[in-house]
Amino acid sequence: MPSQEQSRPQRRDDAPDEGPEPTPAAPEASARKENLDSDIDSVLDEIDGVLESNAEEFVRGFVQKGGQ
């Protein structure tokens, strides 16, 4: 079932955001941005561990015949 985090969205038009979150003030926004950055960094660290080491050769080697 849909997660609880989605609200029942309204028709938007020019109405202000009616979601559960208030429009963040600037300091909160930058804090959130920092959280997002450290979050992404941990994702990249995980991907670094499995990403093909020779990216150029890997990309060059991925050659497909056309399909439907």
Partner: protein, 512 residues
């Protein structure tokens, strides 16, 4: 109708041998199919495909292309003994299509079930990769749609529709919808142009490969609306709309919306509930312009001069659907329809405020976030091969190597279907379509089935001189409710066929 109808997803997987780009993809694809089939105890001589009712050159506009004039790649119904082709106990077809292994899901009746059996196909491909990896270098498979070098391969949706619906109505209302749909359902791609001649990121894997508005082809001059008219069902009653424009999705929400919103638009077309003209000017170039703009601000021009974004155009369809459902069903909506409508609005809301908010629901947004992370952290630009490597490896079906799968396990995407449900769908057919009869026959009587297809099962009963073909031209017959008991009490195919004949539900006909 609602979001519910008979539907399914077919996916051609990208295939490669590490370190050997010249490996023969047809041979490899055959190995992929055979590796899985033999592990399931399916012998090549058994349960092969019955091509009797296939007609890939029949056109929905009412004519048939002469075989001599068709491109070889359009001749999908000629049996080639070197090509592996099996039916699985979950009712799916696993086979080699051109130069790719393809999983065609069984017929289901809801978008949610389509997601489950689509993901089951990916587990099947991953199992095959695991088996083939025992002989290095193995074979890798990718649930994507382009190599970024000029080639594309498809993920097709199929929707059963009423035959009486004029095809021109389908075209009129579906083309604008497909131009816009990609903002919710695109899987994201590094590279602009079929051969990635320009650097950058775009929403869709497929959009650059479309050249015309309507047509029969699927491998060249690809059309936004494909006219292949091969219903695999009673042709007087049904058409199977074959949609070739979609990307392969990993995100459950995007996949659900792809099937669910399209099914709703088709329901409105069938019931003539769309009373506005949303015709898009220059649909092919607009399709590509929308794909090339990850800010989602690209304007789409309608024939009446209105200019709006793809998200706004999708809101128009959402409003039409809301009104249609309200008129027809009021508050009495089925759970599947409620779920699709809610996610549809949620995702459009997010895309409208800031596309980055949809990273948990929409493939291209999640992919873009990771790529942007690399750009920011390592100071890369869009020409860097590492970004293209991430793009490709995103779709690797292996749970440990596939980037999407790693992030999924880390909880970064909304999941609508649990791992347990997907695992069950690997082996079990849907219970509410003819796929149930097909899959259960394969499970119970594998040695007594000569061949099967979407609309038939052919039995080879010991002691009987001729094969017996059970036609299944009604996709909603052969369900567990109608034949479950019969299958349960038939220890062998001979008993089953005798019971079927006496019940005269479906009379077996003799075939050579």
């Amino acid at each position: 109708m609602t979001v519910r109808r008979v539907m399914g997803i077919e996916t051609e997987y990208g295939i490669s041998v590490p370190g050997d780009p010249a490996a023969n993809p047809m041979l490899l694809s055959g190995q992929v199919v055979n590796a899985y089939a033999s592990a399931q105890g399916i012998r090549a001589a058994h349960a092969s495909w019955d091509y009797a009712d296939e007609a890939p050159l029949r056109d929905a506009r009412g004519f048939e292309v002469g075989r001599a004039f068709a491109d070889a790649s359009q001749l999908t119904d000629e049996e080639d003994p070197t090509l592996a082709n099996v039916v699985l106990t979950n009712g799916a077809r696993l086979y080699v299509d051109h130069a790719h292994p393809e999983y065609s899901s069984p017929e289901v009746t809801s978008p949610r079930a389509a997601v489950a059996w689509d993901r089951a196909g990916e587990l099947i491909m991953a199992e095959s990769v695991r088996r083939l990896s025992q002989v290095p270098p193995g074979v890798n498979l990718y649930k994507n749609n382009t190599d970024g070098k000029g080639q594309s391969y498809g993920t097709h949706e199929n929707y059963l529709m009423r035959r009486e619906t004029p095809f021109t109505d389908i075209v009129r209302h579906l083309v604008p919808f497909f131009v816009a749909r990609q903002v919710m359902t695109g899987s994201g791609r590094v590279g602009i142009g079929v051969d990635s001649r320009n650097h950058g990121f775009q929403l869709s894997q497929r959009s650059d490969f479309f050249e015309v508005e309507v047509g029969l082809e699927t491998t060249l001059k690809r059309p936004i609306i494909n006219t292949r008219d091969e219903p695999h069902a009673v042709a007087d009653l049904y058409r199977r709309l074959h949609v070739i424009i979609g990307d392969a999705n990993h995100c459950d929400v995007a996949n659900l919306l792809k099937l669910g919103t399209t099914s709703l638009v088709l329901a409105m077309v069938e019931d003539r509930a769309i009373d506005v003209d949303l015709t898009v000017v220059r649909p092919v170039s607009t399709l590509q312009a929308v794909s090339h703009d990850p800010t989602c601000r690209q304007l789409v021009e309608l024939r009446d001069g209105t200019k709006l974004t793809a998200v706004q155009l999708l809101w128009r369809y959402h409003e039409l659907a809301e009104r249609y459902l309200q008129d027809r069903y009021g508050a009495e909506r089925d759970d599947d329809t409620v779920e699709v409508m809610r996610w549809w609005a949620t995702v459009l809301d997010k895309l409208e405020r800031d596309p980055a908010e949809a990273a948990r629901e929409v493939d291209w947004v999640g992919k873009q976030q990771v790529l942007q992370g690399y750009i920011d952290r390592d100071g890369l630009d869009w020409s860097d091969p590492r970004l293209r490597a991430v793009d490709i490896q995103w779709s690797d079906v292996r749970p440990d190597k596939g980037i999407f799968h790693r992030l999924r396990r880390a909880g970064r995407f909304e999941e609508l279907v649990s791992d347990a449900q997907v695992l069950e769908a690997v082996h079990q057919p849907p219970e509410d379509t003819r796929a149930y009869f097909r899959g259960k026959c394969l499970e119970k009587y594998p040695d007594q089935i000569a061949a099967a297809s979407w609309d038939s099962v052919i039995f080879d009963v010991p002691g009987q001189a001729s094969l017996q073909r059970v036609p299944m031209l009604e996709p909603l017959r052969g369900t567990r409710a109608s034949v479950g008991g019969l299958l349960d009490r038939s220890p062998d195919a001979a008993t089953l066929l005798r019971e079927l004949a006496s019940a005269s539900r479906q009379v077996p006909t003799r075939v050579e």
